[in-house]
């Protein structure tokens, strides 16, 4: 049998096409790895062996009869547990949804399954996607495969680990303020947060609805492109999706994108205080590579960056308090009715017992800021700040093609280091949340390692609906470097 280590979508697809490997063999390869490594890594909350093998057999039937649907047919993948999957438990890594089986699949799940992709299981994450280290999972810790004493980042930590540790070919994550890009950076995989509205959110359990987006983790830029090609587009079930001229990235990706005339903006606000010096050096070196390719490097300013963090937390907490309200112990998931005096008591007992600290924190703070008398001071002001942040980017993209900067101010931190210090944890997002506020697309690509062999990613941000451009820019870097071909030894 062919060597199955660290397959990309295109490589796995090629092996399937040539019948050098079957989808069942491929699926078993990952299932065995998961069985062996997941107890340590915590990348999956659940695996669906029977379900996956059934899908793989169906795929093999199609391949045998020459009816392979497309590049994803037969490719094993995994899905963050805040994304609904019909027939497979979806818990959002929360006790309150333990045992919940959604009666429907998320649009992105439906789309990749229609293309024959094989879902292996559901990825660990921070409870309700709230967190930056996956330590907020109510079920298990996820560990960084490059250093098991460190976090993989979050909230989509499990999805990043699954790709980095070769426990699947690609995976879905979600972002509200950097939850794809940050773990991608900390685990040395490629992670894209698409433009708000580029692909459907239907089936993504809501955190901050105006900021949330589903995105993809892959071992290379081309893989991201292949999956985006399938999931992008307007969805009649999500009114915030936009019918935008076809996703232009053709497979295989065009590597001839001219870097010579490229204008890259370097925002000074992203290279200041708090940025780890090793991270800064790695990011600057990566930018220098583009300079070598002929790109023009332009210093820019995003003057309202300082408002992004408070603005982000106000908006996301307000929306989170509203989105978390439906978990009341009445309709689905866990319910605590023993010794409950009345209905309100059921609410208190259920939510008190099964929500994590972060859910309680966001419910209380979000409720407070939307309350009569405080709305104008907090929520409305945050909305105004958001439009300023958005305008910063709109103005910048008039003069430049993309922005390059760090993803995270520091590499992977120690497990437990920031867990009880939410404010310091919130700082992990400072370079990523602006893209969510502005609704633009942004990605992280592997860009090197620190002295301690901890991965660091380069962030590339582009205008709304310009995924094709930033992916091609990223691809050019990938062609010049070997970072994406390095994998942790586990």
């Amino acid at each position: 049998m062919a060597n199955l280590n660290n397959l990309t979508i295109s490589k796995a697809s090629e092996l399937l096409e040539k019948k050098e490997v079957s989808s069942v063999e491929l699926t078993n390869y990952y299932l065995e790895r998961i069985e062996k490594l997941n107890p340590e890594l915590g990348a999956y909350l659940s695996t669906e062996k029977e379900y996956a093998l059934k899908k793989a057999r169906e795929s093999d039937e199609r391949i045998k009869s020459g009816k392979r649907i497309g590049i994803l047919d037969g490719i094993p993948c995994s899905v963050k547990d805040v994304i609904t999957t019909k027939d497979i438990e979806t818990t959002a890594a929360s006790k309150i949804l333990e045992g919940y089986i959604a009666p429907y699949s998320a649009t992105v799940v439906r789309k990749i399954e229609e293309q024959g992709a094989v879902i292996l299981g559901k990825n660990n994450c921070d409870e309700f996607a709230m967190g930056s280290s996956t330590e907020n999972s109510a079920y298990m810790l996820a560990k960084n495969p490059w250093d098991l004493s460190r976090v993989p980042g979050g909230s989509s930590g499990g999805s990043a680990v699954a790709v980095a540790a070769d426990l699947c070919v690609f995976s879905f994550g979600t972002e509200t303020g950097g939850s794809i890009r940050q773990p991608a950076s900390l685990c040395s995989v490629v992670g894209l947060k698409p433009t708000y509205g580029r692909n459907s959110r239907y089936g993504s359990i809501a955190y901050g609805s105006s900021l949330d987006q589903i995105g993809v983790f892959g071992k290379c830029v081309e893989d991201i492109s292949s999956v985006m090609h399938v999931i992008a587009g307007k969805d009649s079930l999500d009114s915030t999706t936009v019918e935008y001229p076809i996703f232009n990235i053709q497979y295989p990706i065009n590597t001839q994108y001219p870097m010579k005339d490229l204008k890259i903006g370097i925002p000074k606000e992203y290279f200041g205080e708090g940025l780890d010096s090793e991270v800064e050096k790695i990011v600057r070196d990566a930018i220098d590579k583009y300079k070598e390719m002929g790109a023009e490097i332009i210093d820019i300013s995003l003057p309202n960056t300082e408002y992004a963090t408070p603005c982000y937390y106000l908006l996301s907490m307000a929306e989170a308090s509203s989105n978390l309200a439906r978990y009341d112990g009445i309709k689905y998931g866990k319910s605590e009715t023993d010794n409950a005096k009345d209905l309100i008591d059921v609410y208190f007992k259920t939510r008190g017992k099964y929500f994590g600290d972060e859910q309680k924190r966001k419910s209380i703070l979000g409720t407070f800021e939307l309350s009569a008398g405080y709305y104008d001071a907090y929520y409305r002001k945050a909305q105004k700040a958001r439009s300023l942040v958005k305008k910063d980017f709109d103005d910048a993209f008039e003069k430049i093609d993309c922005i390059m900067c760090p993803v995270s101010p520091f590499p992977a931190f120690k497990i437990g280091e920031k867990k009880d210090d939410p404010l310091s944890m919130y700082l992990a997002d400072i370079f990523t949340i602006s893209a969510n506020l502005a609704g633009i697309c942004a990605l992280s690509i592997p860009a090197g390692f620190t002295q301690n062999n901890l991965p660091v990613g380069l962030q590339i941000m582009g205008p709304r609906f310009d995924e094709d451009k930033i992916l091609q820019i990223a691809k050019a870097y990938e062609e010049m470097t070997q970072w994406h071909t390095m994998f942790p030894s586990i």
């Binding site: 805040v82 609904t84 429907y104 359990i205 609805s209 509203s322 939307l370 309350s371």
Partner: protein
């Protein structure tokens, strides 16, 4: 209670829109007779990860209604979340547009005791209905069939000065909803619901009294009764110097007991924490709809019909009111009229309001449930006008028309009941009668000499009708009798 208080009433009216699907999902919007939770999907059941999608028809109908009520269209509005915990509200928020309504202002003119009065509207907004709780056997069960039904809320200004005015307004609103065909507007079935806000103040006073909100009103008569009850209750408290015992509160109307009951204490002070619904883009009506075209779609409304019936058709005001009160009856009537002259139109109106309505009431049917082409009624009236059948026989023919679906001409033909108006034929019958009944003839002449008339004449008419099996034209018989009896 003294009459020194001015009554101030405002209404908050909810009308369910009869769209095919629900407000934010594709579920069937007609759950009537369906088992609990069988007309519900992941979206209207509030499953995690689901998203709302606006029902464009519901939005269009809201604008149609607002334009019919002369409202101003807001250039843009946002749906928003109204947040509270209750088991019939599966998302723990209701998607509404209460604080940034799509339609502002507006007014409706109504005749109260023969006087035209204008009532103004504060705003109209669109939202989703909640589910229902069923309490039984110590349990509370949730039925989400109704959850997500499009609900239009009409908030009036406090313009009503009597319970009657409020009731007449509600009734006119019901007619308009039905004229536009956007709601079944049946109060008993909850398609149309209303809360009444009522306060009293001394005439001439500037400050409003404490406002009491009355809920659980489910018929026009309970609206009137509940408001009357509150006027009495509040008035008596004011009269006896206990004005401070009137609280700004919600009271529920108990129809059986005929009184309002305080719901204070049960209701917590709610802070609904409204904020714009991030899952739905703002609505810009000028982009989504052809508003001018929509305006043109507004059919003639009840007020227009009433006016036209009186002015153009020359029928009485009361009759016009009744005809226009039911869009289906009005449509039937207008089709039956079909360009006839005023005298015929009046007779058609009498038939519609008399025999037709009587028949429908007896059988408990609606006009759409019988198979009577309006033109058949017109033909019947024209036959009476021509003297082809008597009014008495026409009544029998009419029932046969409804029940058999045949035209009047067909029935008359088949049953040989055409009226005899042939004077030659009738003169012969009358001549024979006179010849055979000389005693009655003498009595007749004696009576006429003494009193100018005689009851015997009617006896002769009766005999002629008998001889002709009721088909003789009575007025012609009368003429002939008078002539031959001398």
């Amino acid at each position: 209670m003294s009459n020194k208080y001015e009554v101030i009433i405002g209404l908050e009216i909810h009308a369910q829109l009869a769209t095919a699907s629900k407000m934010f999902c594709g579920c069937n919007n007609n759950a009537e007779g369906k088992s609990p939770n069988s007309v519900a999907c992941p979206v209207c059941m509030g499953n995690p990860g689901t998203l709302p999608v606006i029902n464009k028809k519901a939005l269009e109908w809201t604008y149609l209604f607002g334009l019919a009520l002369n409202c101003e269209v807001a250039p843009q509005f946002n749906f928003e979340r109204k947040q509270y915990f209750y088991p019939d509200l599966p998302k723990a928020y209701q998607i509404t547009s209460q604080t940034t309504p799509p339609l502002i202002g507006g007014h409706l003119e109504i005749e109260v005791d023969g006087e035209k009065k204008n009532f103004t509207i504060e705003h109209i907004h669109l939202e989703e209905d909640a589910g229902k709780l069923i309490h039984s056997g110590g349990h509370s069960l949730v039925d989400l069939n109704r959850a997500g039904t499009p609900l239009m809320e009409i908030v009036t200004n406090p313009d009503f000065r009597s319970p009657l005015e409020a009731k007449l307004f509600m009734q006119e609103l019901q007619r308009i909803l039905r004229y536009l065909g956007i709601s079944n507007a049946d109060m008993e079935k909850g398609h149309l619901r209303c809360d009444g806000n009522i306060s009293l103040r001394e005439f001439g006073a500037e400050k409003f009294g404490k406002k009491v909100e009355i809920k659980n009103i489910n018929s026009f008569s309970s609206l009137e009764r509940a408001l009357e009850y509150e006027i009495k209750r509040q008035g008596e408290l004011l009269d006896s110097g206990k004005g401070e015992e009137i609280f700004q509160e919600t009271r529920g109307w108990d129809d059986a007991k005929g009184k309002t009951i305080s719901q204070r204490g049960k209701e917590m002070a709610h802070d609904y924490r409204y904020f714009p619904e991030p899952d739905l883009p703002p609505v810009v009506p000028a982009e989504a709809f052809d508003l001018e075209g929509l305006k043109k779609q507004i059919p003639e409304l009840p007020s227009g019909k009433r006016k036209r019936y009186v002015e153009d058709f020359g029928i009485g005001k009361t009759e016009a009111d009744i005809l226009a009160s039911n869009i289906e009856l009005a449509r039937f009537f207008e089709e039956a009229v079909g360009g006839q002259q005023a005298d015929v139109v009046k007779k058609i109106a009498n038939w519609v309001l008399g025999d037709l309505s009587g028949y429908l009431n007896d059988k408990g049917l609606g006009i759409m449930e019988i198979k009577l082409p309006p033109s058949n009624l017109r033909d019947l009236v024209l036959l009476i006008e021509k003297g082809d059948i008597s009014g008495k026989i026409a009544k029998e023919v009419f029932v046969k028309m409804i029940e058999g679906g045949k035209s009047s001409a067909q029935i008359i033909e088949e049953e040989g009941i055409k009226q005899v108006s042939d004077t030659g034929e009738l003169e012969k019958i009358v001549g024979d009668l006179i010849a055979g009944n000389q005693g009655q003839v003498e009595q007749y002449r004696k009576d006429v000499e003494a009193n100018g008339n005689s009851p015997v004449l009617n006896w002769f008419v009766g005999q002629v009708m008998k001889a002709t099996r009721g088909q003789a034209n009575p007025s012609i018989v009368m003429e002939i009798l008078k002539k031959l009896l001398g």
